[in-house]
Symmetry: C2
């Protein structure tokens, strides 16, 4: 069952010459199992083809952006129609207004919107808005949470100064006591509490939000005048047709969005409540492509589908089928296998697997069988998936658990993951 | 000669409800003359239509992105073809390698590329790379230069902390003495010297780079081990088919690019030399849409045209015709009119015009005649413009100078520009 990979290897060699380290950022395979392809040629619906023509059922969904299916004809036609009339121009089109109206009508706490490109733009504008609103500087963040790759929230210290991370206090996600302590440490300088809608850090089990934690964050912001920011860039529209903390009954003042609300076309957003409107109008924030009309046309189409179809119940049903099926198959071979987070955004980790050798082995076996799963990052389901797809994944999983189980005691260390042991 | 504007007014009213301040960033008309439209419906070639159907010959070119003409059929078809095969996916396509090869082949100093979305992403990655390379923190910047809207280089202080701007020393652009003083002030902590390829700040005359200044910046970086960064986001490909400081014979270590190299499709880049490769491979930088294939297909098409056609000589010829024609017509009415910067990126300011009342009046007269010019920001020419277009602009300018000249002594203050007098 060896997969062809000569095209991928040839491109890697060329990439080595003209891209630092061969590839950068979250789509680098530097920390993936050896056989994982770096380069892809095509995508449609729930499927992906690597440059060597291997077909894959893709549980990464582009790390989130693929919500309704890759290359969705209706959404892409909306993009193309608008692009042909003019896209990046000297000013915005009326679509920016229409999109702000539609998005704020859908998200309970939101009265206004600013559109941008990166998820990290949206979290950075949230930070600036909160500081402008409060005339204070300190923010509270959960340790290990990802809010983008800008220096203030960078997760790797290289190229970042200690000064970039001043005015920050860390707490433990879902730990009310540590949240209270962090807010107390901020004293009278608290500008904002940032919260991921769930714990969805890499390399570790996910955790759904404890309603008591979310409510306490809201109460502490109300008591201090700070703004509550929910960073919904990653999870948005996969747990609710609203801000993701609506499922625990908590409304933030600001929420950041990105990835999937135009189904993979490049647009992100900060949504805010009236309380923060004046501050948001006073900061200067902009980008060359932020007023692009075509991604807004695609977003309008995507949000209409979010509003009008059962896409969410569909992926929740598929996610439950996947979770239950995997649990059963893992149990059958007696291997400890943890599935965490929302069923629409699963993360898989094995027990007794500190350097991920089990995860790498099992993921590699899945890949051989045409299923792309990630050994340490949360995954994403998309509405183009079917029960047949889930069943295909479960069949592959059964064989992959068998293969893992056979080799369980002879697995060698994963050198590239040794940093996890440190 | 009153232009219809009812659609624009209606959209502004709706925008006021759902967008902070009615619009944000550089495309807000908050600081434009009253009659300037906020919303547009269509663009093709060198022309733009506002939402009320008024046709405009557009000298802003989307603030730069429009290099080859709006809605260029060949470039857009390349985009669409690639989009239909898969755009934002779980990994990049081979186009990222091809684009890095083509771009580095074109730009003398460049050995590698990192692609991103915003121009400000590219300058921020430059900053991180320089700090990673040198293990130092301080950067030298020219006062008033724009390198994006991230907090470290923000031009408006609202929402930005003093800590965001630590480790920075300012100099005066083109002033060798002040550059030397700034480098001296950085002591043994100099990580980078940032330079715009020319002085292209808003509200003030532009200045071409003094070769002695550029050479001194290079020498000071060589002497200290710091990296020289040329921020070519705004000017790239409008003065050279290479980094813009190649015209003064100076090669940087890093150059940032954006806006126009995919003709308005969303992509930016940091290019670097081998010296900085290791550091660039060590930082963590990424974004959800940075690996998008379709903008890379459009960029390959745009860069091929840059390489293979006389687009640059064409816009330089048009720019010279415009500059000479305007100078003649301004002189004919005896009004002091300054045109600065490269002819392909002109900026117009009037003498004796501290609150821009002359500039606003003349620009408004141009707009009435179907020509979109900017009263305080540099403009951009595009390759879709023709000598007929320039002549149309010159005819409009003649009438507009006449109208200005008639009202010269009765112009009232421009309230929104009073901050310039402070």
């Amino acid at each position: 069952m060896s997969r062809p990979n000569s095209q991928d290897r040839a491109l890697r060699e060329r990439a080595e010459a003209v891209i630092p380290g061969g590839m950068y950022g979250h789509q680098s395979t530097r920390l993936s199992p050896e056989d994982y392809p770096q380069f892809f040629s095509r995508a449609k619906g729930a499927r992906l083809w690597d440059v060597d023509g291997n077909e894959l059922l893709d549980f990464m969904c582009a790390y989130g952006p693929n919500l309704m299916g890759y290359a969705d004809d209706v959404i892409d036609e909306a993009y193309i129609r608008r692009m042909r009339q003019g896209d990046t121009m000297t000013g915005p089109t009326g679509l920016i207004v229409e999109l702000a109206e539609r998005f704020t009508a859908m998200v309970t706490h939101a009265d206004w919107a600013i559109f941008c490109k990166n998820g990290g733009d949206a979290t950075q504008i949230a930070l600036m808005t909160a500081r402008a609103h409060t005339h204070r500087k300190t923010i509270v963040l959960a340790k290990g949470a990802y809010h983008g790759a800008n220096p203030w929230c960078a997760t790797r210290p290289v190229g970042v100064t200690p000064e970039d991370k001043l005015n920050q206090v860390y707490c433990e996600y879902n730990d009310v006591g540590s949240l209270e302590a962090a807010v107390a440490a901020a004293g009278d300088d608290l500008a904002a509490v940032f919260a991921a809608p769930m714990k969805h850090d890499a390399f570790t089990d996910q955790a759904l939000p404890d309603p008591a934690y979310a409510r306490r964050a809201r109460a502490l912001c109300d008591a201090t005048g700070a703004l509550l920011v929910v960073d919904d860039v990653r999870a948005g529209l996969r747990v609710a047709r609203d801000c993701s903390w609506s499922v625990v009954g908590v409304q933030p003042d600001l929420s950041s969005w990105g990835k999937c609300f135009a189904n993979g076309h490049p647009i992100s957003a900060l949504l805010g409540s009236d309380k923060a409107r004046k501050a948001a109008s006073q900061i200067f924030t902009t980008g060359s492509f932020w007023y692009q009309a075509a991604p807004m046309a695609a977003a309008l189409e995507t949000l209409a589908r979010v509003r009008d179809t059962d896409y969410l119940e569909h992926i929740e049903g598929l996610g439950t089928r996947l979770r239950e099926g995997l649990a059963e198959r893992a149990a059958a071979v007696g291997v400890g296998f943890r599935q965490t987070g929302p069923v629409t955004m699963p993360l898989f980790l094995f027990d007794e697997d500190p350097d991920l050798r089990r995860g790498f082995k099992w993921s590699t076996e899945m890949l051989k069988r045409g299923i792309y799963v990630h050994p340490w990052h949360n995954m994403f389901l998309c509405a183009a998936m079917t029960t047949d797809d889930i069943d295909q994944a479960l069949d592959a999983a059964e064989d992959s658990f068998d293969a893992l189980s056979r080799d369980l005691d002879s697995l060698g260390p994963v050198e590239k993951m040794k940093f996890l042991l440190a």
